[in-house]
Amino acid sequence: MIHPTPAELLARIADALTETVLPELDAAETRIQLQVAVLILRRLAGPAGDRGPYLDADTRDVAATVDTWLDRLTLPAREAVAARDLVDEVLASPPLPTTTELVARYEAVQALLVDVQRALHELPPEHEDRAAIDTELRALLVRMVARESEIHTTYSAW
């Protein structure tokens, strides 16, 4: 499950606090505390909440820039090897997708999983693939829910 995304959730919590709690607060210091908290929530609901692509772009920029210097500067032998390895590793790594891109791809494979379930149900009950695929589907769903449970822990006892 991906919706609401952290960004969607934080933005709405900021709205709700602004609309329902802030108007009830009279004490100036309490209001400021909440106003600052809302500002931080709004910042995290924006690009600041998606740090992966930022870190990836910055890291890649550093590596690409330093790459051209390594042959022109003299580093101690061990450091030079380590630097070359690090720069090569960074530049060879696949680019990190944005959360927006990951969400779109995740929704697409979810839809695929719904479509294949429909196709599975259209197989005759006695078809040899029906039971086998159902078993594999069920195991996949168990793995997906287990991964989700690792990050969604608030209601684990419900």
Binding site: E8, A16, L141
Partner: protein
């Protein structure tokens, strides 16, 4: 945002409600004069569909001073359920008349004339809905008494002769369609409220649809029959609350819902004891296979309710913070479903 949607009603809201009530009640209590509404205050509630208030009303009628303590249940827009007031109010009339422990229904305001939002009114009933009972020592006698009392309430509810009572405000189902109708309704809600395809829910609905049981009888079903939706005191259960999901259906639906993990009566009494008491009081047998199906349906239904709540918050139809992270309930509920159906 409406006033009913506010987690903490302010003094202006209470004053406006009081004035509106005093005007509106003249149209409801025939011949009443000098109507005064007093001690109006919100009641703490964890329910998401109705926001309750309590108040005293005094009036003169036929030369006498009269009064009662009432509860106003205001419909919450954009909550975790899609409900209407009229069937709930009409069901309360039938159930109260048949001796099921409920608050006596008084008036209904479907257009929100009195306070701005649709609401209905019942007589106040003593007791508490506190969940603290679950935390008391195992040998606390009230724990067992309340759980047995709930079995008795379920028995009374499920043996109401609804056909004679003329329950034309609820969709009719048969023994064959009782469980299926609920499955259809909640799958429809799922398809409208989901924010992504959610293949695990699609799988769960298909699993249930392949195994729909035939009900042993059709009964009036509460739909949210659980600890937390009852009032109790030293004498036992005083009233069953929150009838917004009442419908005709398979009585096992209520028994299964009462045993969902979060509020399971197993914390007070074993399922076997609960069912023995229920069967003794109602004369209705409980088929273990059908009961299991309804327990699995309960996991799916609660997941859909949670997704609806999350969607309401995400779409800005409610600002109630309790709904904000409700989508995260799906993982533990579906994990339990997959384990129990393995």
């Amino acid at each position: 945002m409406t006033n009913a949607d506010r987690p903490v009603p302010d003094a202006d809201t209470a004053a406006r409600f009081r004035a509106g009530l005093e005007r509106w009640l003249h149209t409801q209590i025939e011949g009443a004069r000098d109507i005064v509404v007093d001690n109006l205050e919100p009641i703490s509630s964890v329910g998401g569909a109705r926001r309750p208030w309590q108040f005293d009303v005094r009036y003169a009628l036929e030369g006498e001073e009269r009064g009662l303590r009432a509860v106003m249940l205001v419909k919450v827009p954009g909550g975790q359920l899609e409900t209407v007031l009229d069937p709930e109010f009409a069901a309360l009339r039938v159930l109260h008349a048949h001796g099921v422990p409920t608050a006596r229904p008084l008036w209904i305001d479907p257009d929100g004339v009195a306070c701005g939002d649709p609401c209905f009114f019942t007589e106040w009933v003593p007791g508490t809905a506190s969940l603290d009972l679950m935390q008391r020592p195992v040998d606390d006698p009230q724990r067992r008494a309340v759980a047995l009392g709930m079995a008795d309430v379920a028995a009374a509810l499920h043996t109401v002769d609804w056909e004679s009572a003329g329950v034309d405000f609820l969709p009719i189902v048969t023994r064959e369609t009782a469980a299926l109708a609920q499955l259809d309704e909640w799958e429809d809600t799922f398809l409208r409220q989901r924010m992504e395809p959610l293949p695990v829910l699609v799988y769960a609905f298909a699993w249930l649809r392949d195994r729909v049981p035939v009900a042993s009888r059709v009964a009036m079903v509460h739909g949210d029959f659980r600890f937390g939706n009852i009032l109790y005191d030293e004498s036992g259960v005083t009233a069953m609350l929150d009838w917004e999901m009442v419908h005709l259906g398979d009585p096992l639906e209520d028994l299964a819902w009462a045993h969902r993990t979060r509020w399971s009566l197993e914390q007070l009494l074993s399922i076997d004891e609960f069912i023995a008491r229920y069967t003794s009081a109602s004369g209705l047998a409980v088929d273990s296979g059908a009961f299991h199906w309804h327990r699995m349906f309960a996991e799916v239904k609660h997941t859909v309710i949670s997704l609806t709540a999350a969607r309401s918050f995400t779409d800005g139809r409610t600002t109630w913070m309790r709904h904000a992270d409700r989508a995260s309930m799906a993982a533990p509920f579906m994990a339990r479903f997959l384990r129990a159906t393995a």
